[in-house]
């Protein structure tokens, strides 16, 4: 069927609007990259908008020298690996069990988890608990504290009940398999996609979160990367930017102070890039898993 004139116009306008919108969305991330490899002075003058100017990697060299960043990087990696494994060990078996339709007490147990989405103790009661458990200022609070996310549990349960047919379990039962065997030999081998999705969901949660660390951890040596980033990017706590302008400064000293301020900003751009790089590099490859997770979750079950 031939498209009418109006439909052609509609199609062109739609495409153009999407194109522009996409440019607007991606521009801030693009700017971070070009600003981080440009001459800091040119950036602060506003001469860097679409292309890098005065290419230099000095900002990166300075960032690499900050020890806190590397400690944060290492800590975050540990929290990510340990925390995600712990989350998966809890979530996957629980979701498998909740996907069994004729399990007695299934609804009650579901509600037990469901309620936590809407009601919780809040900041202070949780803080008191962590304190009483002697978890404050330990790495454990950042690994164990997150436990099970109810949303992730629901998504995983949805996966199990929609993609593994009951007949498989029936067959397993006839062959004399108990529930452990059925979980390990039937459900797990078929659930690689959901394990990947959950690992990514929990993993990104660990990597990006600063809240728990802000509240429960005061010791620098245990700071995750995001908290280190906050101190540098938001609170400006670096040796480099500590020097502020003052009216008493003249000539050389003023120039030097200005140069340092520019460099502090350039370091921020570099730091943003370095901290987001692992994700942005992995992202094109794992994107479809994330999308699949949302799709599974969107089916009401």
């Amino acid at each position: 069927m031939k498209e009418s004139r109006n439909d052609v116009i509609f199609s062109v306008v739609n495409k153009l609007a999407i194109f522009l919108l996409t440019l607007v969305i991606i521009y801030p991330l693009f700017f971070i990259i070009i600003a981080s490899i440009s001459d800091p002075y040119q950036v602060s003058l506003g001469n860097v908008l679409f292309f890098p100017k005065g290419f230099t990697l000095e900002a990166y060299r300075n960032v690499f020298e900050e020890k806190d960043i590397w400690i944060g990087y290492r800590n975050s990696l540990v929290y990510l690996l340990a925390g995600t494994s712990y989350n998966l060990l809890l979530t996957i078996p629980a979701a498998y069990v909740l996907s069994k339709k004729n399990l007695p007490l299934r609804d009650a147990i579901s509600w037990f988890f469901f309620i936590t989405m809407y009601f919780g103790g809040g900041l202070v009661p949780t803080y008191i608990l962590m304190r009483d458990l002697k978890l404050l200022n330990t790495p454990w609070v950042l690994i164990v504290g997150m436990g099970v996310s109810c949303y992730n549990l629901i998504v995983t349960r949805q996966f199990f009940s929609s993609s593994i047919p009951d007949e498989l379990y029936e067959a397993g039962k006839i062959d004399g398999a108990n529930d452990y065997v059925m979980f390990a030999r039937i459900a797990l081998p078929l659930s690689k996609p959901i394990i990947a999705i959950m690992a990514l969901y929990y993993g990104i949660g660990h990597w990006n979160s600063y809240y728990n660390a802000l509240i429960y951890v005061q010791k620098n040596e245990f700071f995750p990367l995001q908290l280190v980033l906050r101190n540098i990017l938001i609170l400006n706590q670096t040796a480099n930017s500590a020097i502020e302008y003052s009216s008493a400064m003249e000539g050389e000293a003023l120039l030097e102070a200005a140069r340092r301020t520019y460099m502090a900003n350039a370091m921020k751009y570099a730091l943003i890039f370095i901290s987001s790089a692992p994700m942005l590099i992995a992202y094109p490859f794992v994107q479809r898993f994330f999308v699949k997770g949302v799709m599974i979750g969107s089916v009401k079950g």
Partner: protein, 311 residues
């Protein structure tokens, strides 16, 4: 009567029998239950300090009951209305941007499958994965009065440079639109999934009847995904009083505090910075209860009017 009772007793016996034979399954879910019990339900037990004069040395159980004093204190606090207003303003403002993702999804859905569509989706999903700390610092860098790229553009067009972060009136816009930037693309996934389940025959027959593409979007696509839209809207409206702590706290400074102090940041200020544990818990509980009431009301209305509800 007797027969009924026997049947019921039989049922109960069978039920217990089934529970017994499922013990292995229960052991698989036990770790998750234990973790949630420890880290979610014990703090819920601790919420009682909202009604007590909590003393560290005496502990939760021993502290004295003082009723609703802390709640009263919060409501009579001179800043109460300002905090509540800030919370509701930011929240309503972000609910107002709810249709953005929906419209964007309807637009993307009109694209033919291929390179362009895939690229658009990949690029617009990316900001979702950027951490809150990075988003907040990007906002601060871009809006900086002297060196920010937005002020450079403004002054290139002859406009005045502005210290956006220092003006209370701008705070809600900065908060909401940086959120839209982050979630616009990601929010389309769920709608695109719903749109993909519309039967192609329906659209074909509308085309044969001479419907324009705009009409198809308006009268077929949009109504078909309405249940999804409503479910998401209920969820969104239900959190009217919960403006997230993380980004607000990062963007907050002494100049914009008059419009950036919301309930969640105040709970933190009072509870952890000033260690008024009971008072802070009371504010948190107040917030939580209103949120639950809200989601129940919205869900109830929605069920009546549109037959769509969360449960």
């Amino acid at each position: 009567m007797n027969a009924m009772r026997t049947i019921r007793a039989n049922h109960r016996r069978q039920y217990f029998q089934r529970m017994k034979s499922s013990w292995q399954q229960y052991t698989l879910i036990l770790p998750a239950i234990a973790a949630v019990f420890l880290f979610h339900y014990i703090p819920i037990y601790g919420v009682q300090i909202a009604f007590k004069d909590f003393r560290n040395l005496i502990g939760i159980r021993g502290s004295e009951w003082i009723g609703l004093n802390h709640f009263q204190k919060f409501i009579e606090y001179p800043m109460f209305w300002s905090i509540l207003k800030n919370t509701v303003v930011i929240s309503l403002y972000s609910i107002a941007t709810f249709p953005c993702s929906l419209i964007f999804a309807l637009m993307i859905n009109e694209l033919k499958n291929g390179m362009f569509k895939n690229t658009v989706q990949m690029l617009t999903y990316a900001p979702h994965f950027v951490s809150t700390v990075v988003v907040a610092s990007m906002v601060m860098l871009f809006l900086n009065r002297e060196s920010g790229v937005i002020n450079h553009v403004l002054s290139a067009f002859g406009a005045q440079r502005q210290d956006f972060m220092g003006v209370p009136e701008y705070f809600s816009s900065i908060y909401v639109w940086s959120g839209v930037w982050q979630e616009l693309g990601w929010g389309t996934i769920i709608y695109l999934a719903a749109l993909s389940s519309i039967s192609p025959e329906m659209i074909e027959s509308a085309k044969i009847d001479g419907a324009s593409r705009l009409k198809i979007v308006r009268y077929i696509n949009l109504p078909s995904i309405m249940p999804t839209v409503i479910t998401l809207l209920i969820l969104r409206t239900g959190s009217l009083l919960s403006v997230g702590f993380e980004k607000t706290y990062l963007l907050q400074n002494s100049l914009n505090i008059s419009s950036s102090r919301v309930i969640s940041t105040y709970v933190y200020e009072v509870g952890l910075l000033n260690t008024q544990y009971s008072y802070s818990s009371a504010i948190g509980l107040f917030n939580n209860v209103i949120n639950i009431a809200f989601i129940l009301i919205v869900n109830g209305i929605s069920k009546r009017v549109t037959q769509v509800g969360l449960w």
